[in-house]
Amino acid sequence: MLQKKICMLGSFSVGKTSLVRRFVESIFDEKYQTTIGVKVDKKVVSVGREEVTLVLWDIHGEDVFQKMRMTYLRGMSGYLLVVDPTRRQTLEDALALQARVQEAMGPIAWILVLNKCDRITEWEIDLKQIGPSEGSRQAVIRTSAKTGEGVEEAFSRLAQAMLHSP
């Protein structure tokens, strides 16, 4: 069976682990538990008529305490760049990280994930102000690990993009 490596990237506490748990185990925990290092999960999805095993690398968030090792990205087919829109800084950090990844890995499928859409009234990000928009080629998806909204779609669209990319 085809396997594709997906990395979850973004600042700490944006909800990367919660998105993976929602996607793989369909559960959500309100309590924030920081990730140390990497946790790898797998899930089989259907893309069209093809079944693909997604190998999900949930990588710790970057901050002053932990920097991401670029070697973690080796063999990656695509990534979800996760942002917490209730914290404006996480978007800036995410876009800076995306530039580093692109420089190191070359063009690769990715999706900007605006998580925590269940708290949209607290968002500090105006979608019109960010480069990639929902209508442009670069996919931007709103998700909520809490409610599950947009989670399947985010992984599914990334899987499609990975399969169709050279």
Partner: protein
């Protein structure tokens, strides 16, 4: 125990899986594998295994390991933590290392639940703190936005109020005009306070959000204390509480401390507001400073009920803390003091005083001389014209408690303001009896008293004071007389009554300072300008009289323009009724105010009218009245040219002046 057994026991104890790379992704255990390894990867103890197939993470890391084994370097290549889960859901935090050992390419994989959890706890705490800090900054930001909205909403009606007061100023009776002026002044003060709050909180926010390095700000603690006392004096007076500035400031090293003046002003303001809330009527609140070598301490002493028994410092100065049974505001004031003072490396505290009441204090480090930046009072910042530095008064070496008694409000205000600007603590009263009452209550060191006041004039006040001092043995008060008739005869009578000095109006501020501060060295009455002296224009005259304080000059001019038509009407009425006493009194009162603005010495007509009234002569009185009206009309024009007044006010008072001229 044979060495092999010790070795195996140690490996088991460390939960360490030890493999040798045989190339092609194949690994062979070098020792018995720990239980976690067997459970997680389903590997046999003595069989070769393709580790890359067992673990995606290891597959990734083995590429790094191969690189290390191919191009050896000192030490080892570590993978960092990763977590894997077995078929039963059991999670294993792992760390792998590639090393060269006895010529073998060795891979170690270790399960480290204890170390992993320790690191996780540490990072969890740190990241929780970061998140809390982010949330706090966002809350502060929201509060700042809210504050801006509140301030905008509060300021808007004040603008309308001020316009209304301007419109009213020339259309009401003299008594009501005083209230209008007070309302105008208070609305301006409130606007400044609102702006000050905004600036202080904005500065706090900026300080909270950035750790930008800048030069150490410094503030003159004495100036801040004086400003605070002046600002709060009316509120204390209204509540029947006496507010004093402790008069023992002789700091050899100056009084500059670390901190910026607007926020030090606000700290004093918050402590005074606190004292105002808790002090009973009839009590005294004193502001003072103490030199503590490398630090300076400022305090506010009250005679209130003291601190609640259960109040610790932390509780008193906590956010949203309110004094038990006493009405307060939002509980932000003392918290602001603590937050601000501690940021500058100072401390804040409160304690009960042995003699009753409480002391609230704050302590700040002295400002380094090289980093001392001049403190610019907010009033000067907001003033349209800067104070001319060459004319600004230096503070007195020692502040004194002074009472000023003058029935003419403008003259009184002028004297009060120039003495306050010099650094003295000054109370103004409108007549001789009030001066005696104030003398009992305040026990000032100096009394400045106008010679000519209704009911009890300056001479009678002086005699009463000296007699009382003789009877009671109380300390001698320095008595300074002010007179528009400072002739040799007047001077003789003043000294006979017990005065220490007599100053002629208009007096030079420096002569007043000399008299007040040296007391017994009575200066000669104000000399008339020398004939050979170059003529002085009105602007220069006002600048000299107010030491370049344009705000004070503007205030005095506004008061005079609002007031003189009423006084002129009183003279006119006395002239038409041939009321000698009324003429003498009204002409005297107008002359006092007139002389402050008169560089041309054109108050002669007013003086003549006063003498006519005293002598009960009315020959030529109409000519003198017309001359006075002409003089006032000219002065009014010059003053309005210097300080344009609102159109409505202009029209109103001019209209009155014209009607007087016609009469």
């Amino acid at each position: 125990m044979p060495p092999e057994s010790i070795y195996d026991a140690w490996l088991a104890h460390e939960a360490l899986a030890l493999f040798e790379s045989r190339g092609g992704g194949v690994f062979e255990p070098l020792a018995p594998l720990p239980a976690w390894c067997v459970s997680l990867w389903q590997v046999g103890q003595d069989k070769s295994v393709h580790l890359a197939e067992k673990s995606p993470f290891l597959e990734n890391f083995l590429a790094e390991a191969e690189e290390f084994w191919t191009f050896p370097a000192p030490g080892a290549r570590n993978s960092g933590y990763w977590v894997e889960q077995d078929s039963r859901g059991q999670q294993y935090p792992l760390e792998a290392s590639a090393i060269w050992l006895a010529g073998k390419r060795v891979l170690t994989v270790r399960s480290l639940p204890g170390a992993y959890q320790g690191q996780q706890r540490l990072f969890q705490t740190a990241r929780d703190a970061l998140l809390m800090h982010e949330r706090l900054l966002r809350e502060i930001e929201k509060k700042e936005i809210l504050l801006h909205c509140i301030i905008h909403d509060l300021s808007q009606p004040l603008t309308s109020m001020r316009s209304c007061f301007d419109l009213l100023a020339g259309k009401v009776t003299p008594d009501a005009a005083k209230f209008v002026m007070t309302g105008h002044r208070e609305s301006q003060r409130q606007e400044r306070m609102i702006r000050g709050i905004l600036e202080a909180f904005s500065a706090d926010l900026a300080g909270e959000k950035s750790s930008a390095q800048g030069t150490t700000p410094s503030a003159d603690l004495i100036s801040c204390a004086r400003r605070a006392v002046e600002q709060f004096a009316p509120a204390f007076t209204q509540r029947g509480i006496q507010l004093l500035l402790a008069p023992y400031w002789d700091f050899e090293r100056g009084s500059r401390v670390v901190g910026d003046a607007p926020r030090v002003d606000r700290i004093f303001g918050n402590l005074l507001e606190n004292a105002l809330r808790h002090s009973p009527a009839g009590s005294t609140v004193e502001v003072g400073l103490e030199d503590g070598g490398p630090v300076m301490t400022a305090f506010v002493d009250d005679q209130g009920p003291g601190l609640p028994q259960d109040s610790s410092r932390d509780r008193l100065f906590a956010l949203f803390a309110k004094g038990g049974d006493y009405p307060g505001k939002a509980g932000l004031g003392l918290y602001f003091c603590k937050m601000t003072v501690e940021r500058w490396g100072g401390a804040v505290g409160a304690e009960n005083r042995a003699e009753g009441g409480s002391r609230f204090w704050f302590r700040l480090p002295r400002a380094p001389q090289e980093s001392a930046t001049p403190s610019v009072p907010a009033e000067v910042n907001s003033s349209a014209a800067p104070v001319a530095p060459e004319t600004a008064w230096k503070p007195a070496d020692k502040g004194r408690h002074i009472v000023v008694a003058d029935d003419d409000e403008i003259s009184r205000e002028m004297v009060v303001e120039v003495l306050r600007a010099r650094g003295h603590t000054v109370t103004g009263v409108p007549d001789g009896r009030a001066a005696l009452t104030e003398l009992e209550r305040v026990k000032p060191e100096v009394l400045v008293v106008d010679q000519h006041m209704p009911e009890m004039d300056g001479l009678a006040v002086a005699r009463a004071i000296r007699q009382r001092e003789k009877q009671t043995g109380t300390a001698r008060v320095i008595l300074i007389g002010l007179s528009g008739n400072a002739s040799g005869e007047d001077e003789r009578r003043a000294f006979e009554a017990g005065m220490d000095a007599l100053l002629g109006k208009p007096f030079e501020p420096n002569m007043l300072f000399q008299a007040v501060e040296r007391g017994v060295e009575a200066p000669r009455p104000a000399a008339q300008p020398s004939v050979s002296a170059p003529p002085e224009d009105l602007r220069s005259h006002l600048t000299r009289m107010t030491a370049g304080d344009e705000k004070l000059a503007r205030k005095l001019v506004a008061g005079f323009l609002a007031d003189f038509p009423t006084k002129l009407t009183a003279i006119e009425r006395a002239v038409s009724r041939r009321d000698a006493d009324g003429l003498a009194s009204a002409a005297h009162r107008l002359r006092g105010a007139f002389s402050l603005f008169d560089p041309h010495q054109s108050t002669l007509a007013a003086r003549n009218l006063e003498i006519m009234g005293r002598d009960r002569r009315f020959e030529g009185v109409e000519e003198q009245f017309r001359a006075l009206s002409d003089d006032l009309s000219r002065l009014e024009g010059e003053l309005r040219a210097l300080f344009p007044q609102p159109a409505s006010l202009k029209k109103s008072s001019r209209g009155r002046a014209r009607s007087h001229k016609k009469a």
